[in-house]
């Protein structure tokens, strides 16, 4: 069931067609499957392995490297609270502690109603806006405890329309017209990228 559904399989094929090496589509396809199910399931990884012609272990190796891919269920709103150095200095630990209290769950757990989960993450590259967090990868900057609570209430009541639920298909898809594709028009005429040559993968 949690393999890519028919519609997403079509999108997957489109994504695959963008790359000279099928393997390159691995990460975009992981995103796609997370959009579909809200997490990356084992079945989805197996499906992706078939599509990009690698072993499921290789998909898992890549998938588990990136924290943005969740291999366990998360809340509809996944809150990533940054505790990188800048955020740390400006009170990230307080935000984390507050989140735990106000949501009533520990880091990594899901609230009873299934709406929220949170975790501490490394620097999300918005240090000037510290302490900051992401809800389903949308930034919320300089959050105080009150603002955090407000955010949670708004999301709960459906008053925040900016942030879609976790696992919603992205509204926009990358759609590159062929004449705007980077690189030589004919893939075959291009010399393989340096990393491929080095890894001798292109022979």
């Amino acid at each position: 069931m949690s393999r890519l559904n028919e519609e997403n399989l079509r999108i997957a094929r489109q994504i695959l067609s963008r790359y000279p090496k099928k393997k390159s589509a691995l990460i975009p396809l992981l995103h796609l499957s997370q959009e579909q199910n809200g997490m990356v399931t084992n079945e989805a990884m197996e499906h992706i392995a078939e599509l990009v012609e690698v072993t499921p272990a290789e998909v898992l190796g890549t998938c588990s490297f990136y924290e943005m891919f969740k291999r366990h269920p998360v809340g509809e709103y996944q809150i990533n609270i940054c505790h990188g150095i800048s955020c740390h200095l400006l009170g990230a630990e307080d935000v984390l502690e507050h989140a735990e209290k106000s949501l009533g769950v520990k880091e990594g757990e899901i609230t009873q109603d299934g709406k929220f989960s949170f975790e501490g993450v490394e620097c999300i590259a918005a240090c000037t806006e510290a302490p900051c967090l992401q809800v389903n990868y949308r930034y919320v900057n300089r959050v105080s405890s009150d603002e955090f609570d407000q955010l949670v209430t708004d999301l709960k009541n459906g008053q925040n329309t900016q942030i879609p639920k976790h696992g919603t298909l992205a509204k926009t898809r990358q759609n590159i017209q062929s004449e705007k594709l980077a690189g030589p028009a004919e893939v075959e005429s291009a010399s393989p990228p340096v990393w491929l040559q080095r890894n001798k993968e292109d022979q």
Partner: protein, 836 residues
């Protein structure tokens, strides 16, 4: 990984104050080692790519800009380099690296199999800190988890050196183990429920520099310091070099020996774990005779009962005394060492006087193909820019380490592989051209490729592909690796293909045999018409006649003819030397009839195989772990086989059995030790003359026999026309699996469960076309015969052909073979039978 040596010039560098000459372009860590300076390491392995994971090999390097700290495995030497491996800085770094590596290491050495041979333990003693400053909690993982049937992984011990994962991915192409997670959580693991199903999984246990990977057959069996070891050869067709390790007269482990010429230290799991079979309770340890009670031989008895050697011998002498030599025959001998083969050849041909001696079992290339073509070694074929033509089935199944060598050649040396196998194989992805001629059509395909006379298509292979293959044969050295790829195809099409390839300039060949020491058997005269040293009966008789008094004058019968004669009642005494025609000979009915009609069948074997079970006298032989001798691999490379343990019960080396029979027939075979044989042979065989048996242990690559041309290749005369497969039929391919019903797999507890059941494999397209249900039992027929077998989709099989692996549990595809046919078309009746 092989380094391409573009510039073999020597350059000078200074290592620890000593100026030394090293090969330009060499990796620094290797250069130091050659200069006698040992650098500690964990991740570096010269047969794999460099990753610089562990930082243990750091040295100080000065290339003129002042000393800097560099991992010596990630850097090549250059002229004038000054290297310091001993400075205070380096000592501190080594100490520091080890302290970090040990942070999460559980230090459970007292209960770890690796303790005593563990690089982490050894290097910590030599370079590391005595104390840890780490007081925090270490990482915890479930202690060992099985990653397949034979290998356990303890992630707490792992130091993340990437050796096992690199091996899986780079060396054998089974990337089923990976680094999972990141940072402090990184671990080696498989995908859930997807085991490390590799034919080569045992190698990662040998590679792991800590005790994170352990092999079930060896776990908690011994301590390294209790092991004695000896370098030997595994008697498979490639003659993979091994180290046999034992304790208290029991072999506990086989390890790969890094031999530059052959296996590079790798072994297939079948060979590595097979030592269990040779020590299993099923080993024959005493003679058996058909009879009534102990020592009371009674040939009319029904069962096999234990006997003494004397009792068994008396039946043998009785059947041989005054026998007509023409009614005596010997089948088999590929299991034997060279020395035992000589002894048996001498007994059969020189003493008994029969030339009906044949080591093949009707499923191998003929002697004139094996001996008549200009031969190449594996390393000669695997040189940059060569072209290798493969007329073989999937090498991964039967010739594991050759598969590894060719994969390396294609991936890292720019060798072009033209694969002409009946189906997609593990090498197809790396081949420059991978074509799959239908069985029977290989001759036509090869002719087109070699001559460049390209038709529009041949049996579904396009002219374009043929031209591409043709282009790779030009301006290069061409090497051909050939074997009987499918029992569903007769030998003629292959000979036809070889005849065309012979015309290619400088083309050389590496013919593969199916059984262990078949090459030795031929060189020792175990084929009709042959005498040792590639002499023929007609031309070489005079060389041997003084010590082989009863040499026959007429050339004798090969296995097929012997079985035919036996079935006609023309053979009274048949020796089976480790041969099991009932299982292996393609025409099972003929084998059965032959064994039924022969008066006295004498088996010399290690196990009770189906044919042994039909024998009248069974003599237990010593295995390669229990006797000294030597082995000849497919290249003609002679390497030592060394005794490590004593044979079970009263089992003896095969040559000793031959000597004993000869003695009882009133002739001294003149052989008291394996050395004697080389002395006798040395003076008479020009081929073996320059071999110094006593030095064999000290030749890292063994001794290569190079003579060719003494036995000429007989080219094909007629052309076999292609035959279209009609739309109701499929062309049959009979393949082989690494793990099957063969005795070695079946008698090794760690391997038996790896053998699958017999299945018919076809392409998804045909599957849908025929409307079959996956896993359904179908009726498959050819000629008058039919078998019932379940079906599986396998897209490696091309359209219009069907694959069945031989010798698996269930349906026996030999039933479908038709005597004399170049290829077999089968029909599938997809109606599901109720009984299924």
């Amino acid at each position: 990984m092989t380094e391409i040596q573009q510039d073999s010039d020597l350059i000078s560098v200074t290592i620890d104050g000593q100026e030394v000459k090293v090969k330009s372009g060499e990796v620094l860590i290797d250069a130091c080692e050659e200069a006698g300076v040992d650098i500690p390491r964990f991740c570096y392995h010269k047969r794999m790519s460099q990753v610089g994971m562990c930082r243990m090999c750091i040295v100080e390097v000065d290339t003129g800009r002042g000393p800097s700290l560099q991992p010596s495995c990630m850097m090549d030497v250059s002229e004038g380099m000054v290297i310091d491996t001993q400075s205070e800085e380096i000592k501190k770094i080594q100490d520091g690296v080890l302290e970090f590596l040990l942070i999460n290491h559980p230090l459970d050495c007292p209960v770890c199999d690796k303790g005593g041979e563990c690089p982490l333990q050894d290097q910590t003693m030599a370079y590391g800190p005595g104390e840890t400053r780490f007081v925090e909690e270490k990482r915890h993982f479930e202690k060992p988890i099985p990653i397949n049937d034979n290998v356990y992984l303890d992630r707490e011990r792992c130091i993340l050196c990437d050796r096992c994962t690199r091996f899986a991915d780079e060396v054998v192409g089974d990337p089923l183990i990976q680094f999972i997670d990141r940072g402090n959580s990184t671990q080696v693991n498989t995908f859930p429920e997807d085991p490390f199903a590799s034919y080569f999984s045992g190698n990662i246990v040998q590679l792991c520099p800590v005790g994170a990977l352990t092999a079930k057959p060896y776990r908690f069996k011994a301590r390294p310091w209790d092991l004695e070891e000896i370098e030997s050869t595994y008697p498979n067709p490639l003659g993979d070099r091994i180290v046999v390790q034992s304790s208290r007269d029991q072999v506990l482990r086989l390890q790969g020996l890094d031999s530059e010429a052959v296996n590079w230290g790798w072994l297939s799991d079948k060979d590595r774990f097979s030592f269990e079979a040779f020590q299993s309770e099923y080993r024959l340890d005493n003679p058996l005779v058909r009879g009534g009670g102990l020592n009371k031989a009674d040939k009319s008895g029904t069962g096999l009962v234990a006997s003494s050697w004397a009792g068994a011998m008396s039946i043998i002498t009785e059947s041989l005394n005054g026998a007509d030599p023409d009614r005596v025959a010997v089948i088999g001998g590929a299991r034997l060492t060279n020395e035992s083969q000589y002894a048996w050849a001498k007994l059969a041909k020189g003493i008994i006087g029969t030339d009906h001696v044949s080591a093949d079992l009707g499923d191998d290339l003929q002697p004139h193909v094996l001996l008549g073509l200009p031969r190449a070694t594996i390393s000669e074929a695997c040189q940059p820019n060569n072209t290798i033509v493969l007329l073989t089935p999937d090498l991964k199944e039967e010739y594991g380490t050759l598969f590894i060598r060719l994969r390396d050649a294609a991936k890292n040396l720019g060798v072009k592989i033209i694969e002409l196998s009946p189906m997609r194989t593990a090498l197809s992805a790396d081949a420059a051209v991978s074509l799959h001629p239908l069985p029977g059509e290989i001759g036509n395909v090869v002719q087109a490729i070699t001559t460049g006379d390209i038709p529009r298509e041949i049996g579904g292979i396009s002219g374009e592909d043929l031209s591409l293959a043709h282009s790779h044969l030009k301006d290069t050295n061409v090497f051909v690796i050939v074997s009987r790829s499918s029992m569903g195809q007769s030998e003629e099409p292959i000979i036809e293909a070889l005849t065309s390839l012979q015309e290619v300039d400088n083309c050389r060949f590496l013919p593969l045999v199916r059984r262990a020491n078949t090459m030795g058997a031929l060189d020792m005269g175990m084929a009709p018409g042959l005498l040792p040293g590639r002499n023929t009966l007609s031309s070489g008789s005079s060389v041997f006649s003084d010590i082989w008094p009863n040499l026959p004058t007429e050339s004798g019968a090969n296995t097929k003819q012997i079985l035919q004669k036996a079935a006609d009642g023309d053979i009274d005494t048949l020796f089976l030397l480790g041969a099991d025609p009932l299982t292996d000979f393609p025409d099972k009915a003929l084998a059965k009839a032959a064994l039924e009609r022969t008066n006295t069948i004498i088996s010399v074997d290690l196990f009770v195989t189906p044919s042994v079970y039909e024998s009248d006298v069974v003599l237990p032989a010593a295995s390669f772990l229990e006797a000294d001798g030597s082995h000849t691999n497919v290249e003609g490379r002679i390497t030592p086989i060394r005794q490590k343990i004593t044979p079970p019960g009263t089992a003896r080396p095969d040559w000793m059995i031959a000597a004993e029979i000869s003695h009882r027939l009133g002739h001294d075979l003149g052989v008291d030790t394996p050395e004697d044989i080389w002395e006798e042979l040395g003076s008479r065989s020009a081929v073996h003359g320059d071999l110094d048996y006593r030095k064999l242990d000290h030749l890292p690559d063994g001794h290569l026999i190079t003579a060719t041309g003494r036995i000429p290749f007989i080219p094909a005369e007629e052309r076999i026309e292609t035959r279209p497969v009609d739309s109701y039929a499929m062309r049959l391919i009979l393949g082989r699996r690494m793990f099957d019903q063969g005795t070695v797999t079946q008698m090794s507890p760690s391997l038996t469960q790896l053998a699958e059941k017999s299945e018919l494999r076809i392409n998804q397209y045909d599957f849908e076309r025929l409307g079959i249900i996956e896993g359904a039992q179908v009726e498959v027929s050819s000629g008058g015969a039919s078998i019932s077998i379940s079906v599986k989709v396998d897209n490696r099989v091309r359209r219009s052909s069907a694959l069945i692996y031989s010798n698996l549990e269930g349906a026996d595809p030999r039933e479908l073979l038709i005597e004399g046919a170049h290829s077999i078309d089968i029909r599938i009746d997809p109606t599901v039978k109720e009984s299924a």
